[in-house]
């Protein structure tokens, strides 16, 4: 039953993405200043929101894990971090393609871009560290703390456009600016794609969580077999 729900959510996400592609390519007009490339923003912005949310979930799950010694929460943390990292790379790649066309360069060292890069490195460090600690309870404690620390870079990355004057465009969404910086149809499109990404993210995290639980069971059985 659960598998079917998961499949349904995945399919919904896929169909939603197709519907969104149709709208953004055939219904919405080109942007006045940027031309057609602005459409990559419908993938860029939602993928960053999805990755920030995944890291938030991972941070909370880690805090719960170290507080209540919950292996399940630890598994959720690693699942959410991995999926979040995938979305981080989507965000970085789409941003770089946009930058090459609009700015003429792939990368610039402004605060937003730099911190996005740092965030990716920090969470990659977290995943690397997990592979190095064989003992599950020590791994839960140590990497849990690291994940909570790592969330600081997400906060800085999110607020960087407010704290520094960046080459990266400032906030345009009406929930941050109060409106007037973006056409409502284009803003709506961004939210539609965000929902599709979020559904996809939920499916991926759930699948990864299940893998992690199975892995834990296998680890436990292996230890049992060795101890006999």
């Amino acid at each position: 039953m659960f598998d079917k729900i998961l499949l349904a959510v995945g399919l919904t996400s896929g169909l939603y993405l197709v519907r969104n592609l149709y709208t953004m390519l055939l219904v919405l007009p080109d942007e006045a200043a940027q031309g057609m490339i602005y459409r990559i923003m419908f993938f860029h912005i939602p993928s960053w929101w999805t990755c920030f949310l995944s890291f938030l979930v991972a941070g909370i799950a880690s805090a719960v894990a170290i507080r209540s010694k919950s292996n399940r929460a630890d598994s959720l943390a690693v699942a959410a971090t991995e999926v979040g990292l995938a979305f981080t790379f989507v965000g970085l790649a789409t941003g770089m393609i946009w930058a090459k066309i609009i700015w003429g360069i792939w990368w610039t060292w402004d605060a937003r871009l730099t911190w996005a890069f740092i965030t990716a490195l920090t969470y990659a460090g977290y995943l690397m560290m997990r592979n190095m600690i064989p003992d599950p309870s020590e791994r839960l404690r140590v990497t849990g703390v690291l994940n909570v620390f790592a969330f600081a870079s997400v906060v800085i990355c999110y607020k960087a456009i407010d704290w520094w004057r960046t080459q990266h465009p400032g906030a345009v969404m009406s929930f941050r600016t109060g409106g007037g910086n973006i056409d409502p149809a284009m803003e709506g499109m961004t939210y539609h794609n965000f929902i599709a990404f979020l559904l996809l993210c939920v499916v991926m995290v759930t699948l990864r969580l299940r893998q992690e639980e199975t892995l834990r069971e296998i680890e436990g059985l292996r230890r049992l077999a060795y101890s006999r």
Partner: protein, 224 residues
Amino acid sequence: MLRQSWQIFLKDVRMELRGKEALNASLAFALVVLILFSFAIDPTSEQIREISGGLLWILFAFSGVLLVNRSFLREQSNDCLDVLLVNRVPASALMLGKTFANLLFILMIEAVCLPVFSVLYNINLFQLPLWLIGICLLASWAIAILGTVFAAMTVNLRLRELMLPVILYPMIIPALAAAMYLTNIVSVGKVPEGDDLIWVRLLVGFDVIFTTLALGLIDTILVD
């Protein structure tokens, strides 16, 4: 708790000053890198004035990691760490003592490197000495506190020398960036003001936030 921190601090400083292993290695490393800089950029050019802060803080971050890496390694022989914790030394006191010891070691390295850098590259870094000391204290504290916490995390790893920099550097970049920027301004004799003050706030905020987090979470790393 403060008394116990003080004891740990004294113990670590005494141990290090007797052996001087980490301190000597780290200082030698710092001086070698100082010389290497002269090959990377023309030491007589004006350009070095603009990037002196960056060079110096990269140097301090690298040699700082060599120092903090040792701090929990010292307790590994004879299971000293477990003995300390069993004897009801609070993990936070342990960490605080070690952080202060590491801070002192990093400041010692800086106390040697800053004048040497000034002489070798003909830049007077000490035009605003109080600002420079303030920046050094705040940024070195950032390296020391995060370095000590992450050293506690990585102490049991086989690849700890490799893993500590991998997780530490991305996290301390905000503090290092602020220190680099402020050192650059201060070294040309300009008092930070207006927009520059955001870097001072960033540095202070970084220290406060991570010290609080570290004190709150160190029990989880060491005790549970």
